[in-house]
Symmetry: C2
């Protein structure tokens, strides 16, 4: 798909910002460093983003766009796939790594904007609501609550993996979460199915 | 219980260090600031701790000692109670708050020592092994894996609560984790029991 030039420029600025945020953190980054990384002009950056904070917001928003296009599945399967793709991609994708670093740097970036978790919670909640309507969830499971818990657990899994194995076993830990969590939230017919029939891809999109 | 004076001094230094780490983070803290907070002498601090890093290690170690004495329960009930006491105590106890802050500041403190998660994983694993021997866990649940997942989930829950509600609903979020997790890991007879019959106290120990 061919994008208008302004959109391509904006995207390349977001990618450069992600690399800089990932490497230097929010407080260590500056628009000057992002301009340098991008090979564009300060004017081009300021045309799209009025501040470093706006750039960080754009990086946070772009996280879901790097995961969602890889998913071909629906409902509960899509929720499982999203976490597993995220776990794989986090090992190499600057956008996701920057998102993690910005999220963990409370007090600098996060003090100024809304919760960076909200985009992901809404996406997962929406898929879980569809799963509920399709009878995939056990009675009593609230899509919003479960979406929040999945996000909380993945956040902690990522921190634990970063501290203990430099994230090498992150996908394994996410699959483990599902093994322990699914029997409590999914109807029996779904449990084996969603763990064995993942329909996602790690090919470039 | 009366402690020898050296032990009391050591404990008061650890408490002061926890306050300073909680407020200023690892890189913002110094032995001088901890000496000042404690009202003791640099000599007394260096008698017990050879470096700021050793003080941070002591704070990490002391976390479990502020939670465990409040638990009267055993096995799976003890694991549930530990997480709920931790959630309540984290709202006010400088030792636990410092532990959380030190854990999240990878690259400064954590680069020099082993994983700060290990103490908690061992404690939970031990209780879960006893739960397994007592027939409280479902077949196929591995105590070590489940201990790690509980720790990962609690870490993420704490971060989410800190970002969204300044930790006000942390105990509610931890109870929610158990509601969704227990059906997949505990035998049916235990599920309602451990959520309704907590035997822990928030009284001072």
């Amino acid at each position: 798909m061919k994008q208008p030039r302004a959109l391509r420029t904006r995207e390349s600025i977001v990618q450069a910002a992600a690399q800089v945020f990932d490497e230097l953190g929010y407080s260590g980054s500056s628009i000057a460093k992002i301009v340098e990384r991008c090979g564009t002009t300060p004017g081009a950056v300021y045309f799209h983003f009025k501040s470093k904070e706006a750039l960080a917001d754009a990086v946070m928003e772009a996280q879901s766009r790097t995961v969602l296009p890889r998913l071909e599945s629906q409902r509960l399967q899509r929720v499982v796939d999203a976490t597993i793709v995220w776990a794989h991609q986090l090992q190499t994708d600057p956008l996701l790594r920057a998102g993690v670093r910005l999220t963990s740097e409370r007090g600098t970036y996060q003090a100024h904007v809304g919760s960076p978790y909200e985009t992901w919670v809404s996406i997962l909640e929406n898929d879980l609501e569809e799963a509920q309507r399709a009878g995939e969830l056990q009675p009593g499971v609230e899509p919003r609550e479960l979406a929040e818990f999945i996000l909380e657990a993945c956040t902690g899994i990522q921190m634990y993996a970063a501290a203990t194995t430099r994230r090498n076993d992150l996908p394994v830990l996410v699959e483990r979460m599902w093994r322990y969590l699914l029997p409590g939230v999914a109807v029996p017919a779904m449990i084996t199915q969603v763990l064995t029939r993942s329909t996602w891809t790690l090919e470039p999109t």
